[in-house]
């Protein structure tokens, strides 16, 4: 059973993915390690270009090609935008054991399949978590605008991201921000006919309609996540750090008020509304809690964190918000400080450990106050160049771009929630609601990219002890051999972006279109 040799395939086509070997790249160093496999920084030999190579984990023989990778590839194939991570190609490797059996028909995929991404230096969470890091207001506006521009592009192309969170927003040293990790993304149609799974989006960023169990939803789900990130950037720490779904909803209700037929027509018909509706009246306190925010920021946040998805602001309208058009204006990405990008995996690991020690110590000290150490933004820098304040632990020259210690993205973050309060909850359902034997041995947990849970089969949250929880996953429990497949939960985030070619969105012209639109 011979496979056509590379080059023999797709003769009738222009260069096709998978036709090149990973040998076209020189691996420089490993920059990440996750449930999905290794991420390498590499150089394309022919061009010298730096890329991120993400190995698609194929070692789970029973599952075959991971569904997350199939989804991500098929969606990224059709998205081309400055604020969306670019999947450049897919390369294969025959592996060193090519001819171990002396057979000439070596499997050209044996050594692995790699996704080739543009290289990116950081992710937003990693950057924000640097000790002492404070974003300036123009910097926050700059990131938010890029996030919204990229998301608007996805939505116009009928793609829901469904896992917007800081660690999936990659940032390069040119200040460009790109959406990454499309492993949970899917296409949607405007007629909202389809039943979609409500088990998406990392818990802290999951909108109330999904928590209440709706299976008909649209781009508004991503906008809720954007609102959470926005508030987090301004507030200095995550605003809804729930540990399970009921608590998540409760945190949302405490800030945004309880949903009722007045502020959210139709809410009482959503699957689990009666199960979760608060027993006492809860008023919306958003303005009160965040009263120190700038007026325009608060206005925009109000419209993003609107309970009723049909009234929630769209990405397009958000881009037109006063916030982005009043002083201080969003800065030019290129003007942002460059942060040390340490790709050296070992160094990173070492630093990570060090940081963990520090954090553990800090946590012990702060046990009764805050567990999150982010600082709110510098309110007014008054200039395009944000002056970053040095963190308490790191001396530095004030005239130089700040260089903070510690890894700035999550390539190397530890798997799973650590013992203490974990910074990020596992994507998907931490309550164990969709644990499934078939996922065993994958070491999924804590590392973004959630599993694809079954949908619409029985009430959710069985394991969180909610009333009304029935035989969830009814379809799956009796499957016996080869139970339905939950793909491995590796996120394909944290890949790379090349040197940004400036952004087309920084012009001061209010009427500009957003680059990809004519």
């Amino acid at each position: 059973m011979a496979i056509a040799a590379p080059g023999q395939l797709n003769l009738n086509e222009s260069p096709s993915w998978g036709s090149r070997s990973v040998d076209c790249f020189e691996k420089l160093e490993q920059i990440g390690e996750g449930t999905y496999g290794q991420v390498y920084m590499a150089r394309e030999i022919k061009t010298g270009e730096i890329v991120a190579l993400k190995k698609i984990r194929m070692d789970n023989e029973r599952e075959g090609f991971p569904i997350t990778a199939i989804r991500e590839i098929k969606i990224l194939k059709k998205l081309h935008h400055d604020n969306v991570i670019k999947l450049k190609e897919i390369v294969t490797s025959p592996g060193p054991e090519k001819d171990e059996q002396g057979r000439p028909d070596g499997n050209k995929y044996k050594g692995g399949i790699y996704m080739v991404f543009e290289y990116m230096d950081h992710d937003l969470t990693g950057l924000a978590d640097r000790p002492g890091m404070r974003f300036s207001v123009p910097q926050i506006k700059c990131y938010m605008r890029q996030l919204l521009t990229g998301l608007h592009y996805c939505h116009v192309n009928q793609v829901l991201h469904r896992d917007i969170k800081g660690s999936n927003l990659l940032i390069d040293n040119e200040g460009n921000l790109k959406l990454a990790d499309f492993g949970l993304a899917r296409s949607f149609s405007n007629d909202h006919n389809g039943n979609l799974t409500n088990r998406v989006i990392t818990l802290w960023y999951r909108p109330p309609e999904l928590l209440l169990g709706t299976t008909k939803y649209g781009p508004a789900v991503d906008m809720w996540s954007v609102g959470c990130i926005f508030a987090e950037l301004l507030h200095g720490k995550p605003i809804f750090p729930g540990k399970d779904e009921p608590e998540q909803l409760n945190k949302i209700f405490e800030l945004c008020g309880a949903p009722d037929e007045v502020n959210w027509p139709g809410v009482s018909k959503i699957t689990w509304y009666n199960t979760f509706k608060p027993t006492r009246p809860m008023k919306r306190r958003l303005r009160e809690v965040f009263r120190l925010f700038d007026r325009h920021a608060l206005e925009l946040l109000e419209r993003m964190l609107t309970l009723d998805p049909s009234q929630r602001i769209s990405a397009k309208d958000a881009l037109d918000a006063e916030y982005f058009w009043t002083d201080p204006l969003p800065c030019d990405p290129k003007s942002l400080p460059k942060y040390e990008s340490s790709h050296e995996f070992q160094t990173k690991k070492k630093r990570q450990q060090q940081r963990q020690h520090e954090e553990t110590a800090k946590r012990q000290k702060l046990q009764h106050s805050q567990q999150h150490t982010r600082l709110p933004p510098i309110q007014q820098s008054g200039q395009a160049h944000a002056q970053m304040r040095p963190g308490p632990n790191q001396p530095m020259h004030s005239s130089q771009p700040p260089v903070a210690a510690g890894p700035s993205h999550h390539y190397g973050k530890p798997r799973g929630p650590a013992g203490g309060p974990s910074r990020y909850p596992p994507s998907g359902n931490p309550s164990g609601g969709y644990n499934h034997p078939n996922r065993g041995g994958q070491g999924v947990g804590g590392y973004g990219g959630g599993p694809y849970p079954p949908q619409g089969r029985g009430p959710p949250y069985a394991s969180s002890g909610m009333p009304g929880a029935g035989p969830r996953g009814g379809g799956s429990s009796g499957y016996g051999v080869g139970a339905p497949n939950y793909p491995q939960g590796g996120p394909y985030s944290g890949a790379g972006a090349g040197p940004g070619r400036g952004s087309n969105m920084m012009g001061g012209n209010r009427n500009q279109q957003y680059g990809w639109q004519q």
Binding site: N12, M58, R62, K77, Q158, F188, G194, Q455, N485
Partner: protein
Amino acid sequence: MLAVVENNHDHRRPEPSEAEQPTPRVLTILSFVLERLVARNDRLFVGLRCGSAAGVVGKSLSVFHGVRAPSISIPKYLERIYKYTNCSPSCFVVGFVYIDRLLHRHPDSLVISLNVHRLLVTSVMVASKILDDEHYNNAFYARVGGVTNAELNRLEVELLFLLDFGVMVSSRVFESYCLHLEKEMMWNGAGQKIERAIVSNAVDDVTEISVEDTQISSPRTPQVVD
């Protein structure tokens, strides 16, 4: 070698909600279309083998070629996949779309009796991965399909690359393939309609496109016509 063990009952199926699920019509139609195609191509293949063009044909699909044709017929094989994997009937339409795309992308390839089974099990499995939120893993499909897990994984990767990861099927395309399949049946004088409830624009995720049908009025054994 495809070694399909017919009474492979050691795996339990989910509680059958309705006692015996009748075969969806799409299987009948698909079997008919494929059997006709294979019969035609087999003759062509033999002809080519005798001629000088031998070896040129079907190169891109060579990984799907078995040494000899499995003894199980196409309708029986499809029924078997449906029965054990419990995938949604639309997976068969989408699987057919993949095979068709493959042939268009690689015009040198021929679907013949040596490769049709492997093509089917692989494409239906990939379709089910894309369409059904709950689906069986490759290991299970391998057992159902009579190939080893390792081989099926390899076929899956091969299929994905041959398709250049073009696994998206819009509802418009889905509909046009349904119409095409129905028309094929109509020419044969047996007007069978694939019933479908198109739900979303993009066939993905949990979108259930039911191609189910309970009445089977015409002969189950498709005729092979020229």
